[in-house]
């Protein structure tokens, strides 16, 4: 087994007259928390969309766990164990918290096309669902409608649903976006916890989060990889400073 | 004995579509005149009239008929224009064993394959039309025919019956094209007809469809290479096309307002109300209901079987028909006329449109009773 669970070769996406993702060669190591960084519009979300086939690459190849998945559909990729979250929270608003998670687990029962069956069969999953909800502190809210949750809790629910699928690779798109301080810390800790035994690829703007949990970082700018390495390397990389993090204090002082 | 202490008449016809002028409101008015002339009473009971629009849809007609027969205690149902709708209503009326008088429909199926003991078919049918116009045209030299046919029961019947007549008279059918009922654009059909090389374009359609096909034929110059034969034309159609577009055309009709003093008198009364002259159908509406009411008066009941028997036993003699007779198959047979549309110069007054060219005796115009395919006819 290769040490890289996910590899892309020359991955490119062009929209009418404009390249959003430009020959990206990404390699995600098994067991890592790998962060994808970059200014707005750098192509991070587009990258996720390509990896999960929500968009079709213009060029390039995607290999997951040794299989070429470039030609597969979103659902097939998901069934291989690549589960993503979305930049804008993606829950099923009118289902309860419990049902939200159960929908994911239901896939493994093989009954999803059984339109003549009642729901009693699914009830056996509830214990497992509640255990998962416990993990993200949502157990008490299990019977609320997802729409009624505060924003931060929705993101937690989304992560719980993602986790329920026992993915080999989790793709998280800005999991802390739009959250208050405490939620950010909670979710960061959560990601750290759930990342044990699996691989996480995440997009994140919040550097504090990235610094504290990412094993490896890839920085994108205008669709292309600008730099790659661990936090220490990347945060000192001059191009990154220039394009993304802004000039550092020393130079800031020197400007005057 | 009169059920519900009232004689209830219902008419379901096209009140808003392409046949609305031929029957429609005018037909309702004619029936009202018949009721008024009976002083609103028959067999000592009050007469009531219901009317509805079937929009030329068989399902609307049959659903309405069923509802009236089930819930309104209707005694006699009058089926206005549209053969498809009439075939459907005839079935319902037979199922409920109530008198059904079909007036506007042309399809001869009503008194052949699809006859019922309760159906009376008044005014005319496709056989009579074919015998009249079809014969006349072939005799005047129109041997090669192409049909433009309305795509429903009526069109099919008319085309089939005319084909038989034409072939018997030594003519030939070159081809045909079907157009939807109430079509709006005839140009491509006409182009096909023109390409066929036939001499005669037989219009197996009616009302608005006939008017429009004649207009478009003029527009596309079809009339330069072919002669038109309107197989069913009403005076209203001639009126809206004008004599210029129609002069010289042959047509078969069962009645013409200007045919006799009696007819003129009745028609003037009708004109007062509707501001136009009655069509054959509207006159037939009056005649049929008057005949029905007389039968009710005579039998003192509204029992369908007795009334029908009486109607079939009594000859019809009024301004509409002379010695008209309803056969065992339900067909009302009376003399028909072959008309020719007058030249503009000949027309003396508005609505003065026809010359009677020939009277077609009842037994030549209609299928003979003995030849009827109706199983009710004992052979």
């Amino acid at each position: 087994m290769s040490e890289f669970i996910l590899e892309t070769q020359d991955l490119t996406k062009e929209f009418k007259g404009f390249t959003a993702v430009d020959s990206v060669n990404l390699r995600v190591q098994r067991g890592h928390i790998h962060a994808l960084l970059g200014p707005n519009g750098a192509g991070k979300t587009t990258c996720f969309n390509l990896l999960t086939k929500f968009l079709t690459p213009t060029r390039g190849r995607i290999v997951f766990a040794g299989h070429d998945i470039t030609g597969e559909t979103s659902a097939q990729i998901a069934r291989r164990g690549v589960i993503r979250s979305f930049q804008i929270s993606a829950v099923f608003p009118h289902l309860t918290v419990l049902e939200n998670v159960r929908i994911g687990l239901q896939r493994f029962t093989g009954t999803s096309f059984h339109f003549w069956k009642g729901l009693t069969g699914l009830k056996t999953l509830d214990a497992k669902v509640l255990a998962l909800l416990e993990l993200v502190d949502l157990r008490d809210m299990a019977h609320l409608k997802a729409a009624d949750l505060p924003y931060g809790r929705k993101r937690a629910l989304e992560i719980a649903t993602t986790m329920a699928m026992e993915p080999q690779l989790m793709l998280l798109d800005e999991p802390t976006q739009g959250m208050g301080h405490e939620d950010v810390d909670r979710v960061t800790a959560l990601i750290k916890r759930v990342a044990e035994g699996r691989t996480v690829l995440m997009v994140e703007h919040n550097m504090k989060v990235v610094a504290s949990i990412a094993d490896r970082i890839t920085v994108l700018a205008r669709g292309a990889v600008l730099a790659e390495g661990d936090y220490a390397t990347v945060s000192k990389h001059p191009a990154v400073l220039e394009a993304y993090m802004g000039t550092e204090a020393t130079e800031l002082a020197g400007a005057h | 004995q009169v059920s519900g202490d009232v004689i209830k008449i219902g008419i379901i016809t096209d009140m808003s579509g392409l046949y609305a002028d031929i029957d429609g409101q005018g037909g309702v008015e004619a029936i009202k005149m018949a009721i008024a002339d009976a002083k609103g009473m028959a067999a000592g009971k009050k007469i009531e009239l219901l009317f509805a629009d079937h929009q030329n849809k068989a399902d609307v007609a049959s659903a309405k008929a069923r509802e009236w027969l089930d819930t309104q205690g209707l005694d006699v149902l009058v089926g206005g224009t549209n053969s498809g709708a009439n075939l459907a209503m005839a079935k319902v009326a037979a199922e409920k064993k109530r008198v059904f008088i079909s007036i506007g429909a042309a399809s001869a199926r009503l008194t052949n394959e699809d006859c019922t003991p309760y159906t009376v078919h008044y005014a005319y049918d496709t056989v009579a039309l074919a015998n009249g116009t079809g014969n006349a045209v072939v005799k005047s030299g129109g041997k090669n025919w192409y049909f433009l046919t309305a795509d429903y029961a009526f069109g099919a019947s008319l085309q089939a019956d005319t084909t038989a007549v034409v072939q018997k008279a030594g003519g030939k059918i070159v081809g045909s094209v079907k157009h939807p009922l109430s079509a709006s654009d005839f140009s491509s059909f006409l182009l096909q007809a023109q390409g066929s090389g036939a001499q005669i374009l037989g219009l197996a359609n009616a009302g608005g469809d006939t008017i429009n096909s004649i207009k478009a034929a003029n527009e596309f110059g079809v009339t330069k290479t072919m002669k038109l034969a309107g197989l069913l034309m009403f005076i209203n159609d001639v009126h809206s096309l004008g004599l210029k577009a129609t002069e010289g055309m042959y047509l078969t009709d069962g009645w013409y307002w200007n045919q006799s003093a009696e007819s003129r008198a009745w028609s003037r009364r009708f004109f007062e109300k509707m501001k136009r002259m009655p069509s054959m159908l509207q006159a037939a509406d009056y005649s049929a209901i008057a005949h029905y009411l007389k039968a009710v008066d005579a039998t003192k009941t509204d029992d369908s079987d007795k009334v029908i028997a009486k109607m079939k036993a009594t000859k019809i003699n009024d301004f509409f028909a002379k010695n008209g007779e309803i056969g065992a198959d339900g067909r009302m047979r009376y003399d028909m006329y072959l008309m020719q549309v007058k030249k503009q110069a000949e027309s003396k007054e508005p609505w003065d449109y026809y010359n009677v060219v020939q009277t077609i005796p009842a037994n030549e115009a209609y299928t003979k009773l003995a030849d009827s395919k109706c199983p009710l006819v004992k052979k």
């Binding site: - | 009140m15 140009s187 096909q192 390409g195 009302g207 608005g208 110059g221």
Partner: protein
């Protein structure tokens, strides 16, 4: 007589030309739909009804006021455009935030109301409208006798379609419109009154439908239902073309008219369905339509 696949040439050319006449209407209507869709993101179901209204206004103008064809050719689109403004201001504008389907449903309701009104006054049978004097008569083209009026329809609609195309593609007003379809919020941030632009676009789109209606009046019977069957074919045209470009909708409209004309020659039974069959095939091969953008 020359023949092609056993069909006499004149018949073929004649039907092709008639197809072009129908295609002109498809083109004008799908063009209006495309323009409206671009700005409002609404599929204007009422397009057929407003087309019918155009024809009816022409007829009423003649019948009630004695206004001739040429006057109504200008007046009817104006009146329908005004009605469009009313519809947009009082109803459509409340739907932009909702699922686009509501726009379809609302305009469907409007269709029923407009048709219902005309039906209740005039029934469903057609009212005749005669060809204007200047365009009476026919020209013998050798292979067929083409009524002059039909020739005029093709010319007029081509001129209008390309004028609209030029207006949108070549003028600064058109540039604003195009920008508005791409990113209305930003255009508004430049100080342009986008809501008003939206209203006027709708008015313009439906005026185009009314113009088509007046053109159709002398050819077809003016009837309450003349728009409703046409609009569905136009929808199919739109699906085939794919709401991509203005030119695309014109080309698709004309093209399908011609295909339909050809079908009338080779397999007349299928002439009503051919557009839909083409649609099914296009959907299989290019789900986004011939000129459509990938979503």
């Amino acid at each position: 007589m020359t023949e092609l696949f056993g069909i006499p040439m004149p018949a073929l050319l004649g039907q092709l030309l008639l197809g072009l006449v129908n295609g002109s209407f498809y083109a004008m209507l799908s063009l209006g739909l495309a323009v409206i869709f671009g700005m409002l993101n609404i599929i204007n179901f009422a397009h057929g009804a407003l087309y019918m209204m155009g024809a009816f206004l022409a007829w009423m103008g003649m019948d009630l006021l004695g206004l001739n064809y040429w006057v109504m050719l200008g007046l009817a689109p104006l009146l329908v455009g005004l009605l469009g403004i009313v519809i947009e201001r009082t109803m459509l504008q409340w739907l932009y935030k909702l699922d686009h389907l509501y726009g379809l449903l609302l305009t469907f309701g409007i269709t029923l109301v407009i048709e219902g009104v005309f039906r209740s006054f005039y029934g469903v049978s057609g009212q005749p409208y005669s060809v204007p004097d200047a365009l009476q008569g026919a020209t013998n083209l050798g292979f067929m006798i083409l009524p002059n009026y039909r020739g005029w329809v093709v010319v007029a609609s081509l001129v209008v379609c390309f004028a609209v195309w030029a207006l949108i593609e070549k003028t600064s007003l058109g540039a604003t419109l195009r920008a508005g379809t791409e990113n209305p919020r930003l255009v508004q941030a430049f100080g342009i009154n986008v809501p008003r632009m939206v209203t006027l676009t709708y008015a313009g789109g439906v005026a185009l439908a009314a113009f088509a209606g007046v053109l159709a009046a002398p050819i077809l019977q003016v009837s309450a239902l003349m728009g409703s069957n046409l609009i569905i074919v136009v929808f199919a045209v739109v699906v085939i073309g794919g709401m991509g470009s203005i030119l695309g909708s014109i080309v698709t409209g004309l093209g399908l008219g011609i295909i339909e004309g050809l079908t009338k020659v080779f397999y007349p039974e299928a002439s009503n369905t051919v557009v839909f069959v083409v649609m099914a095939i296009v959907l299989l091969v290019r789900p986004a339509g011939l000129f459509g953008k990938e979503k």
